[in-house]
């Protein structure tokens, strides 16, 4: 009995230590929000994007990335100075600009940096085999850009050894240990949340965010104004056309069909291309997982299908003969996103489309209303190859 009691005490002791240690570790949190604020003398005008703001103070520029999961409260603040870093506020990450080197852990920014003439500042990227940008590929081949592996599991040692001025990485709801470690090693992390924006112009406007780090704000404003102009001009072309076609999107991935939610980037493009979309009133900004039966009932009669993963109708038929039940397949109105790809898996649709929303919108309009854009050739999308299988 006595022995049992000792063991029971031992168990209690284990639990005690366990709980104590956990509380001890989680108890320490950053105390921030000390407000020793002066007023900014100017703001950068942001027309579409909700996820960041840029304010100019004497001697420095403040960039604030806002948190889409928490009512757009600040996610991270950066104080960017050119010459004198003495008068910076205590809050936020202080960085000397323009940056001389950057590691980019997101494909969407290659074209922004190229348009800003800063591609030579990139010293590291992830998933090199999936890159499309020929300029980046050349630099990887010449070893002036290092490939740091899996974007979700970056090679930390190699990243640290590059000693970049900063790292640009996609922020997810969960703060990952990689970013924490980089910050701990004194390398600032620039969090990218462009992918949470739900309109193509809002996403393209993030060029202004990255531009401040290279002191290229004026260039970014000018580039974005042109993007906006081009986009609205294309959109205008379908403005007077009767809205009669409907569209289906996404593809089957191991039994689940992911289609864009009604507040997503793709749904916005469909609206702007004057297309009916089953989920246009839905409030989801991510994707919605559906099964094949739901797809057949909700999208069976859709006229066009964008974002198919197959290359030909034959391949589609081999994957699943049920595809033939879809009107878009019967009418041969199916398009994939593989017009610009590399043999190893690079696809420009995931790279430069963000910075060129006018082109992706033109693609959709060209597919559905070819007469409106007679001179235009597809940039990112491609009709599936036709053959005798169907």
């Amino acid at each position: 009995m006595k022995r049992l009691r000792i063991k029971n005490n031992a168990i209690t002791l284990f639990f005690g230590i366990f709980v104590f240690l956990i509380i001890g570790c989680t108890g320490k949190q950053k105390s921030s929000n000390s407000s020793s604020e002066s007023q900014p003398h100017s703001f950068t005008a942001i027309k579409y994007a909700k996820g960041f703001r840029i304010e100019h103070f004497d001697g420095y520029t403040r960039l604030t990335i806002l948190n889409p999961w928490n009512n757009w409260t600040p996610y991270q603040t950066y104080n960017l100075y050119k010459t004198n870093g003495d008068k910076l506020p205590s809050e936020g990450t202080n960085l000397k600009i323009p940056l001389e080197s950057i590691v980019v852990n997101t494909f969407a920014y290659f074209d922004f940096l190229e348009q800003l003439g800063q591609i030579d500042k990139i010293t590291g990227i992830t998933d090199g085999f999936r890159v499309y940008n020929p300029n980046i590929l050349r630099r990887i081949a010449k070893d002036s850009i290092a490939d740091l592996g899996d974007p979700f599991k970056m090679n930390l040692e190699k990243t640290l050894a590059l000693k970049p001025n900063a790292i640009l990485t996609s922020a997810y709801a969960q703060r990952d240990q990689y970013s924490e470690r980089l910050v701990q090693a004194g390398i600032p992390v620039i969090y990218n949340l462009e992918w949470m924006e739900n309109s193509p112009l809002a996403r393209a406007e993030w060029i202004k965010m990255i531009a401040v780090f290279f002191d290229k704000e004026a260039d970014a404003d000018r580039i974005f104004d042109q993007i906006e102009k081009r986009y609205l001009k294309v959109k205008e072309k379908v403005g007077g056309v009767e809205k009669k076609y409907s569209v289906m999107a996404g593809d089957n991935f191991q039994g689940t069909w992911y289609v864009p939610g009604g507040r997503s980037f793709n749904a916005c493009l469909f609206r702007d291309a004057n297309l009916n979309y089953y989920y246009e009133d839905d409030h989801n900004s991510g994707s919605i997982g559906l099964d094949i039966e739901t797809i057949l009932t909700q999208f069976g009669k859709a006229d066009y299908w964008f974002g198919c993963t197959a290359d030909s109708y034959e391949e589609l038929n081999e994957k699943d003969p049920k595809y033939k039940l879809l009107k878009s397949v019967k009418d041969k109105h199916v398009f994939n996103n593989k017009n610009r790809v590399t043999p190893s898996g690079g696809n420009d649709f995931f790279e430069s489309a963000i910075a060129n929303p006018d082109l992706i919108l033109s693609d959709f309009i060209k597919a559905v209303y070819p007469a409106l854009l007679p001179q235009y050739h597809f940039t990112y999308i491609k009709p599936l190859k036709t053959d005798n299988a169907l």
């Binding site: 031992a10 999961w69 592996g149 040692e157 004194g186």
Partner: protein, 336 residues
Amino acid sequence: MKRNAILFSILVILLLTAFFCDLFVGNAHISIRETWAALWGSSGDTITDEIVRNYRMPKALTSILAGASLSVAGLLMQTLFRNPLAGPDVLGVSAGAGLGVALLTMLNGSFLYPIISTLGSMAQVIAAIAGAALTLLLILFVSSRINDSITILVLGMIFGYVASAAVTILQSFADPDSLKVFVTWTFGSTSNVTWNKMPIMAGIVIIGILSSFFLQKNLNSLLLGEHYASTVGLNIKSIRIVLITITALVTGTITAFAGPIAFVGVVIPHFARALFGTVNHRIVIPATLLSGGILMIICDIISQVPISNRTLPINAVTALFGAPMIIWIVLKRKKL
């Protein structure tokens, strides 16, 4: 006795050598001299110091602790259930931890976000520990009601299956990014543990390992069967609860900090018994401890080798590279 002393000395030397090799090998090109300087003072470069002291060092320590403690936990389970296939995860604790992490990953963008975000990467650890602890409580509840080890073993495995099923359901609802975050966790990683997390992990794990040393006699009695053990005065029920608690704490903690790590816990106890030719826990516990640490640290070194710029998940390396080593030993000795 002399043979054992020699074998133990070899294991200790191997462990220390492997530990130092792990500190000197990595993806950043740092010379042996620079690494040495960074270890004992400063290499003159802050990033090199950072890599050696705050990245490689805790990673090597985590490998040793994970390998050693999972192996000992596996040994405890094999002895308790008298089943050669038992391992640290038979109680469903790893699966429970996985369920915790899966829930966290999927709930992240939800109303819980403000709480989760203040915790940073500790959120994942806490979620895993909560999942593991819940499974442990279930198992302890069952153990207090049922007086048959095999039934507890079967129920533990059932808990594991239920947790895995729940994880699969969550995965089918997840968006591709969350899915990738979760899958990356299941790869296992010894580099997750930073110095500020180390005291918690090391604290719990070392307590677990040390307490198993005090149970040698009880474990030896268990080898003769529960019936015999109870006739020599062993309180089977209480010893069972103690063994389950130690195993679950150790496995839950390692899984929480380093992700699920398979293989080591099942195989190393067999290896240790075969190497020393005995089942006496006075020998087998330290032998298992050392061999587990050595295997894990070798696997950690292998997992650093980049294959087309990616490093291998430690969870796969343990089985892929561990299995041939063990099979070779078995073939040489003709038995385990």
